[in-house]
């Protein structure tokens, strides 16, 4: 039942939200719903973690070979938890933002959450595809209706990318289905497509997922969309939704198409590392904080993609932890960016400066989160990055492991460069005309950032529970993806 509630709560509350007339009511309703979802998610991790509670199978389109089959494994638990925590934090942090037609705004936001829950829970390929669309369509409207000045061309670009991606994915799913006659995950995992066909399906899937992550060179929708979306939506997009892409590769690509994943792994790794370097370098030249964070996110996702295709236990485990950590950290960064933009009407670093004097609490949280984002030890991201890098370096599936590791590590240096420069330009130095009258954090923002800070430190100092949660599923994925025995044959 836990699994079903995770989808139903945001879905139903989201639909109901459209009928609220007052903005305050709609906002409160959304927060209430998010807290409810979080409670269910935590219950599923603790007192109700018996397997029977975590699975649900219902009938739908049975004659097509598809069922409403959902379930929570370790990876699903972690991402649903992220989805649930993130929504509470996002709603808290944007408590003071005002939206026109707020009922629609919050309704769509909750529908997107329901869609993402579906993506993380689906044990059926068709259901997965439905959920994927359910998550994307509300976001499309959120960007196009509540976005910035350039929202029309930007959302158009977002739409083109997403639309093409979904089309390719659907084709891929149908192709596999033509072999299995079933959409169930087990059938997909046991499809054993011939090698030449795997290659086709691999690219259909990979491009769809790569757009979402995004991986270079499918990324150009991302900085624009992040920049133009209302910040709450940017948080959803970058904190949770990009994880759909990473998640999908782990759940639907590696185990379903092991041979193609192995044989195209080097190319994907090369793309990933190129994208990391490319995005890191571009991030160094950004003046707009939102764009800087957007490009840094591309670099981080590139590392996850690289780690996935290293196919080692450490790297996959690292990716899982990192999906959670990256979500937490980037939402934290956006919270501060949003505060800055709302106060000063600008996101340009060249117009800011000296904020630390007037808003020390904001500065402390931002510095903590920024250092977590560059993987300082004892923060959450260090665990993920350490495991990912260690796995990449010791990867058995590629002979280019050393050079890939070194190039990816260069990005870690560049990340330190642009992150520290951002801190310096925004918070240090003397106060500017704009920042002289800065106001520090208010209570709802302090609460949101405080929760994030605790999560960052807790999972950085004592990560073992998160690792234990995901260790089984890591092994399962690798078992399926292990092509060494196929090649030896």
């Amino acid at each position: 039942m836990i699994a079903l509630f995770l989808i139903l709560i945001p879905l139903v509350t989201g639909l109901l939200a459209f009928f609220f007339r007052e903005e305050k009511m709609a906002r409160g309703w959304a927060l209430l719903s998010a807290i409810g979802t979080l409670t269910v998610s935590v219950l599923g991790l603790t007192v109700l973690k018996a397997p029977a509670n975590l699975r649900f199978t219902g009938e739908w389109m049975g004659n097509l070979g598809s069922s409403f089959s959902i379930g929570l494994d370790g990876m699903g638990q972690l991402l649903c938890l992220l989805n649930a925590v993130a929504y509470v934090i996002i709603l808290l942090a944007t408590w003071n933002s005002s939206y026109r037609k707020a009922n629609n705004f919050f309704g769509l936001l909750l529908l997107a959450q329901a869609g993402m829950m579906g993506v993380f829970l689906a044990m059926d390929a068709l259901l997965f595809y439905f959920s994927w669309e359910l998550a994307l369509i509300p976001v499309y409207f959120l960007c196009s209706q509540w976005g910035g000045d350039r929202r029309i061309p930007v959302t158009f670009k977002f739409f083109v990318y997403t639309f093409l991606g979904s089309l390719l994915m659907l084709t891929g799913i149908l192709f596999v289905y033509s072999h299995t006659q079933s959409f169930s995950m087990e059938a997909f995992y046991n499809s054993n497509l011939p090698n030449d066909q795997q290659a086709w399906v691999f690219w259909l899937f990979f491009i769809a997922f790569a757009v979402k992550m995004p991986v270079f060179p499918f990324h150009t929708w991302q900085p624009d969309t992040y920049e133009q979306s209302p910040t709450a939506v940017t948080m959803v997009l970058s904190g949770i939704m990009v994880k759909m892409g990473v998640f999908a590769v782990l759940r639907w690509l590696l185990p379903v198409l092991p041979v193609a994943s192995y044989s195209w792994g080097d190319l994907v790794s090369t793309l990933s590392v190129t994208g990391m370097l490319y995005a890191s370098l571009i991030a160094m030249r950004q003046d707009d904080i939102k764009r800087l964070v957007a490009y840094s996110s591309i670099a981080h996702i590139g590392l996850m993609s690289l780690a996935i295709f290293s196919e080692s236990q450490m790297s996959i485990q690292g990716v899982m932890i990192q999906m959670f950590s990256h979500g937490i950290n980037i939402i934290g960064l956006w919270i501060v960016v949003e505060l800055i933009e709302r106060q000063f009407g600008t996101r340009k670093m060249s117009e800011l400066g000296g904020l630390a004097q007037k808003a020390p609490a904001m500065a402390i949280f931002f510095v903590l989160i920024a250092f977590a984002n560059i993987a300082l030890p004892l923060t959450n991201a260090f665990i993920g990055e350490f495991l990912m890098f260690s796995g990449i370096y010791n990867s058995q599936v590629t002979q280019y492991n050393v050079i890939l590791t070194v190039l990816a590590l260069v990005c870690i240096i560049l990340a330190a460069v642009y992150t520290l420069n951002m801190i310096r330009k925004v918070f240090f130095g003397d106060a500017q005309i704009l920042t002289a009258k800065a106001v520090d954090l208010r209570s709802s923002e302090t609460l949101a950032l405080g929760i994030l800070a605790i999560l960052i430190l807790w999972s950085g100092i004592y990560p073992q529970p998160l690792l234990d949660l995901t260790s089984n599923i890591t092994d399962a994925i690798l078992n399926k993806a292990d092509v060494m025995h196929l090649i030896k044959k």
Partner: protein, 639 residues
């Protein structure tokens, strides 16, 4: 019986508590309370360290204490564990002992800061000590790495402590980034070790090494990577340029970075991994070369610096080069010995310079000082002791450790010895140039400054006196064998750490020079150093070096233009390339391609735009109706 060393967690716990209390309470606590908490926590830590030291000295057997599982994935298990043995217990004493004196000193030195920043300062300082303690106490390379990056973070925070000044913030960034370059090499080494050994504990790695399971190539690779890590933290060529800039922070912070913590980390790491280094002669040669070159380069730069703290900063770089020279020539004990004595006299010199700067009202240019001995007797005397100790005049601590390093160098090659000795002479020269220009001659500052000249308060002078005493007597724990038989107590104490390495060196026929040669070498170097000291003292007392530097002096004053070179060759090209990517490739090429695709589907886009004008709610309604329809159709199809 429970392992007595289990208490080790208290050592880092106290500074951590201090950090939390002062950090969170910086707005409500009084300055007095902040100072007492900040210093008291380090004192408590020192007390536990002394206890642990005595336990280890008394022969406590089990050195590793494990607290919890930090990371456990598949076969790889990284426990959160501490290792309290001879090497770490010595470092603990130095870190907490000297650290405590610096804290006490800071209560007076930083007193003009507003209470909130005073609290922030002590919180950072405690966090710094905490990180350094983790670094030294960790029982595996990952815990060491946590502390390793931790000190990087703290130095960043403290160098940029006065965050209103953009220049200071840039220095802080530089420190962190240069350190990070080294850190990543360290990380690579860890990954390499994980791949080969399957674990990162020191004991695992050491037994793996001793069993000969590493190939020579692996050993060389790992040791070189670890050494690159050390060049970042311990400011060696090519990553040394952050350290002199790091003096942007408050002066006691410089003392902490340069003496008790941070820069000694690289020495500690190599001493910890000594067996791997002993087995890779190529790496040892590289370390010798880099150490020697750094010692010499930094010494030449120090000759022409006019900022009192810059001279000391370059002398630190140079002395660290000396320590690496010791490591490279296999004199591990001498390296650790020099870390200790250097901690005493360098902390003394930095704190002394702080006292001078305090009296001069913030002035750091020695050309505007002179004759200060008349006004500040204690500072003068203790600073002089520091200079004598670092120069290596017999009887003072620096003499013993430096002499041991030079003897080890001579055993390898007279040329290395020659360069080392030359560097020692340069050191004596620039230190007494500094001393004479600052304290001798007549005062060259403004009338106003002269009026304000005064000796510093007790919280400043007492640490100076204690450090001065240590700078004299600290050397007597390592009296060389050729002078008194069996009096090198430090070598005896550290024996278990370096025993296997020494065995291997002896098998390879490494010998010490005989006693007669050692007497001659020591006599020679001592005589030369004294001559240089007297010369520099006379020269700069009579006629201080205040003229604008010319020719080669200008090159030295500008630090061989290394910063400019790095900027031109590395930083600028990267920024230019990044700009090219950002403005040309991203905007025109990639985005252009996408927009081209976009135009192809423009038709559908136009249709969509038409749809977009209405209510959002209706779309969602449509979506839901559509989904319901699918279900309904399904339902009927099934029948």
């Amino acid at each position: 019986m429970k392992n007595v060393l289990q208490l080790a967690y208290l050592v880092p716990l106290f500074p951590l508590l201090g950090f939390l209390i002062n950090g969170l309470g910086r707005k409500s606590l009084s300055k007095g309370a902040i100072g007492v908490i900040g210093s008291g926590m380090i004192l408590a830590s020192f007390a536990v360290s002394v206890y642990l030291f005595l336990q280890v000295k008394g022969g406590a057997a089990d050195h590793v204490v494990t607290y919890f599982n930090f990371i456990h994935v598949g076969q790889l298990s990284i426990p959160f564990a501490f290792q309290i043995d001879q090497l770490s217990s010595i470092f603990l004493l130095v870190i907490t002992g000297v650290g405590f004196l610096i804290h006490v000193y800071s209560t007076s030195y930083m007193h003009e800061e507003p209470a909130e920043h005073f609290g922030r300062y002590f919180a950072y300082l405690n966090l710094f000590v905490f990180s350094m303690l983790l670094l030294v106490m960790g029982a595996n390379y990952v815990i060491m790495f946590i502390g390793w990056e931790g000190v990087g973070l703290c130095s960043y925070l403290l160098i940029g402590f006065w965050f209103k000044k953009t220049e200071y913030n840039k220095a802080a960034n530089k420190a962190f980034i240069m350190n990070r370059i080294g850190d990543l090499a360290f990380l690579l080494a860890i990954f390499w070790i994980i791949g080969k050994v399957g674990g990162v504990g020191y004991s695992e790695v050491i037994s793996f090494t001793e069993a000969g399971k590493f190939s020579p190539a692996d050993l060389t690779g790992i040791t070189i990577l670890l050494f690159i890590g050390a060049t970042g933290k311990s400011a060696q060529i090519p990553l040394y340029t952050w350290l002199p800039d790091a003096m942007a922070g408050p002066t006691p912070v410089s003392a902490l970075i340069h003496a008790a913590t941070m820069v000694t980390a690289g020495i500690y790491m190599i001493a910890r991994s000594n067996i791997m280094y002993t087995l890779s002669p190529l790496t040892l040669n590289i370390i010798t070369g880099i150490g020697l070159a750094t010692a010499l380069l930094a010494a030449t730069i120090a000759m022409k610096q006019n900022d009192i703290k810059k001279v000391l900063a370059y002398s630190t770089v140079s002395q660290l080069g000396y320590m690496f020279l010791a490591l490279g020539t296999g004199s591990y004990v001498a390296a650790v010995f020099h870390v200790m004595t250097h901690a005493f006299f360098k902390a003394l010199l930095f704190l002394g310079s702080g006292s001078v700067i305090h009296a001069m009202g913030g002035e750091q240019d020695i050309r505007k000082m002179g004759g200060l001995s008349k006004y500040m007797k204690i500072t003068n005397l203790t600073f002089l002791i520091g200079c004598i100790a670092i120069a290596g005049i017999p009887g003072f601590s620096g003499f013993f450790s430096k002499d041991e390093i030079l003897a080890g160098a001579f055993a390898r090659s007279p040329i290395i010895y020659g360069v080392g000795l030359f560097t020692a002479l340069l050191t004596a020269f620039y230190m007494f140039r500094l001393y004479a220009t600052t304290f001798r001659g007549s005062f060259r500052g403004t009338h106003d400054q002269e009026h304000h000249l005064h000796e510093s308060p007790a919280a400043i002078t007492i640490p100076l006196v204690i450090l001065a005493v240590l700078s004299v007597v600290g050397g007597y724990i390592g009296i060389p064998e050729f002078m008194v038989h069996g009096a090198h107590r430090l070598a005896d104490f550290l024996h278990p750490i370096f025993a296997s390495s020494q065995e291997i060196f002896e098998q390879h026929g490494h010998t010490h020079p005989d006693h007669q040669t050692e007497w001659i070498l020591t006599g020679l170097s001592s005589a030369l150093i004294i001559v240089v000291v007297v010369f520099a003292w006379k020269k700069f007392s009579a006629k201080p070096d205040i003229a604008e530097a010319q020719g080669f002096g200008k090159v030295l004053e500008n630090k061989w233009y290394v910063d400019e070179l790095y900027d031109k060759v590395i930083v600028q090209p990267i920024y230019k390339f990044a700009g090219f990517l950002s403005n040309v490739v991203e905007r025109l090429v990639i985005d252009g391609l996408v927009n081209g695709v976009g135009r192809l589907v423009n038709y559908s886009g136009r249709q969509l735009r038409l749809l977009q004008s209405g209510q959002v709610g209706s779309y969602v309604l449509l979506m839901v109706i559509g989904m319901l329809l699918v279900f309904v159709i399904q339902f009927f199809l099934r029948k």
